[in-house]
């Protein structure tokens, strides 16, 4: 699982290859001697980046006084975590619920919106698009203070649905932009042909265009999931009830519980539970992860 396969992909689109590509790696002894310092240096950097993750995973199952795993190796810390307050099951459920709802809403809204912006001309089209992108320019904190008041008046105080709605709104600039360029990169003839054949604009979208923009959908979904799963600030402000906390909030609160003594072991286990889905998704979908930044950086 390396990025080599991913990066070959954009390389192929760029006709001119950097000159360094052309010189084949030297296999002579002198060449090896020249390259060894580079390997040592870059290897050390890779170790620095990987060490914290590896250390946390190992430490979460290794013995340490004052934690759920006092002697011998095992999953004691995870047991402590599982029984913390409402139980990790509840917090996992809350996080999965918020992330799932956010992904579904983001996909739905940005698909319809991207289709509208790419294929239709209507009054206010550019204004609405610019307004959507303007969300990026307003600080998170600036919006969350009034959103706290607004959600209270809408009856969504202390509600996971409210958190998911707010997180969806914060995803809209990226996802609408991404879906718009995805639809625009598909030749118009495709949906026009479908409409000539008697499709309505909606069935052209559903049956013809949606399969064609699948890579865009995966990228948008991945980013919405990572953002919602990891978000800390929105639930911190919008959720008061400890049974409704999402996982990052619960793990963060876990630290100060037992008379000020921090259970480091349970915190390590919490970090592993939080990080594992993200790392697995990242490794499986890193091509889409890279693509998301490519589109943003090239066209933005």
């Amino acid at each position: 699982m390396t990025i080599a396969s991913v990066q070959n992909h954009p390389d192929a689109d760029v006709p001119a290859i950097l000159p360094t590509h052309r010189s084949a790696p030297p296999t002579t002894i002198a060449g090896l001697a020249l390259r060894t310092p580079f390997w040592v240096f870059s290897g050390a950097l890779a170790v620095i980046f990987l060490f914290p993750l590896v250390w946390t995973s190992v430490a979460s199952v290794s013995p340490h006084p004052g934690t759920g795993q006092v002697d011998g190796w095992g999953f004691g810390n995870y047991v402590t975590l599982a029984h913390y307050q409402a139980g990790i099951g509840q917090y996992l459920f809350n996080s999965v619920f918020v992330s799932g709802l956010c992904v579904v809403l983001t996909l739905l809204i940005s698909t319809l919106g991207g289709y509208a912006f790419a294929r239709f001309r209507f009054p206010g089209r550019n204004a609405l698009f610019m307004l959507t992108l303007a969300i990026l320019m307003v600080p998170y904190a600036t919006l969350l203070i009034p959103l706290y008041v607004l959600l209270n008046t809408l009856g969504l105080q202390n509600s996971l649905v409210g958190v998911a709605l707010v997180l969806t709104m914060f995803q809209l600039p990226f996802s609408t932009f991404m879906m718009r360029i995805s639809f625009e990169s598909i030749p118009r003839e495709l949906d026009e042909a479908a409409m000539v054949d008697g499709c309505s604009s909606f069935s052209a979208l559903w049956r013809v265009l949606l399969p064609a923009v699948r890579p865009g959908l995966i990228t948008v979904g991945l980013f919405a999931f990572l953002a919602a799963w990891n978000d800390f600030f929105a639930p911190l402000i919008l959720i008061n009830d400890s049974n409704k906390m999402t996982l990052p909030l619960a793990v963060s609160n876990l630290r100060g519980q037992v008379q000020g003594v921090v259970d480091y072991g349970a915190t390590e286990a919490g970090v592993v539970v939080l990080a594992l889905p993200c790392i697995v998704l990242f490794l499986l979908l890193q091509r889409h992860y890279v693509r998301g930044f490519m589109s943003g950086a090239l066209k933005g």
Binding site: P10, L50, P52, W55, A116, F120, P146, F232, V251, Y264
Partner: protein, 301 residues
């Protein structure tokens, strides 16, 4: 709009109206979200900043400049602004330099470099909160891997203001360097290879190639990454809220942390918090306009 070929086309105007209506229909969920969850709160924050608005009792009527004077007079206001600016400059310089350095290092395709790229990128899949919790344990003088060392030296990662800032910067570099490397790689790929070829034929050395070709042609990417990094760092919250908790001695309080604590911890004054938020928004707009001007200005020269 169905079959158009066989039947005569309907009058242009109705067809256009239908087209517009359908466009609006598809865009309406976006419009609804943007209106209710972005435009209305944005208007509300301005109103709150001009009203007496305690957390529990809600709107108590207009008190225009009072919230702003209270915000500026807050005893942590100046300290938090200074600290946030200091942190922003350090984080931006570190991340842009390291992002570019890593990108140059792993630019070419090979198995080893692919592995390096993945190693640098994996931390960016973690949330900032998870990464902060991870380093909270890693830096701990009780449970961290360097605990024995810290005990012997009588020193700890989060013990003094400078050490706490440096430790947080390390966490941020660990979490974001790969992300900035990725953006730099995208920028580097847009530089045509024949320019490098031509420079080599002219006998340019590595440093010349880098300073006369790579850096000028990378300017759009450098502008984008700098603006991203400055904006993100000015709004720093999680890393300090979780890792340093503003300490030691309130030395690491950022502006967003101040907003949070004014609103929800103790003071419970949403009006003053809203006034602070408005100030942050205004500062951010000014800073970004200045940056855009600066990058554009140096483009023309």
């Amino acid at each position: 709009m169905t079959v158009q070929t066989a039947t005569p086309a309907p009058p242009r105007t109705t067809r256009r109206t239908g087209h517009r209506l359908r466009g609006w229909a598809y865009a309406s969920p976006t419009a609804l979200f943007v209106l209710v969850l972005f435009v209305v709160p944005l208007a509300l924050v301005f109103r709150m900043s001009a009203s007496k608005w305690p957390l529990l009792s809600g709107d108590q009527g207009i008190n225009f400049p009072d919230n702003f004077t209270a915000a500026v007079d807050n005893r942590f206001f100046v300290d938090s602004v200074v600290f946030t600016l200091k942190y922003t400059i350090l984080a931006t310089v570190l991340l842009i330099a390291l992002g570019l350095g890593l990108a140059l290092m792993v630019q070419e395709s090979s198995r080893w470099k692919g592995f390096l790229r993945t190693s640098f990128l994996v931390p960016s899949a973690l949330g900032l909160a998870s990464a902060s919790l991870l380093f909270y344990v890693l830096y701990s003088p009780l449970a961290g891997p360097l605990a024995p060392f810290m005990e012997r030296m009588g020193w700890s990662f989060l013990g003094s203001p400078d050490a706490a800032l440096a430790s947080t910067l390390f966490l941020i570099v660990w979490r974001y360097a790969g992300f900035y490397m990725l953006l730099m790689l995208v920028g580097l790929q847009s530089i045509p290879g024949d320019i490098y070829e031509a420079a080599r034929m002219d006998g340019a050395n590595r440093w010349h190639t880098f300073s006369k070709i790579t850096i000028p042609l990378l300017k759009p990417t450098l502008a984008l990454t700098t603006i991203l990094c400055v904006t993100g760092s000015l709004l720093a919250f999680e890393q300090f809220y979780i890792l340093t908790k503003g300490g030691p001695d309130n030395s690491t309080i950022t502006v967003v942390q101040l907003i949070y604590s004014v609103a929800f911890q103790g003071q419970n004054d949403l009006g003053v918090a809203a006034a602070l938020s408005v100030l942050v928004l205004a500062a951010l707009v000014v800073i970004n306009v200045v940056q855009l001007r600066a990058f554009r200005g140096s483009d023309e020269s």
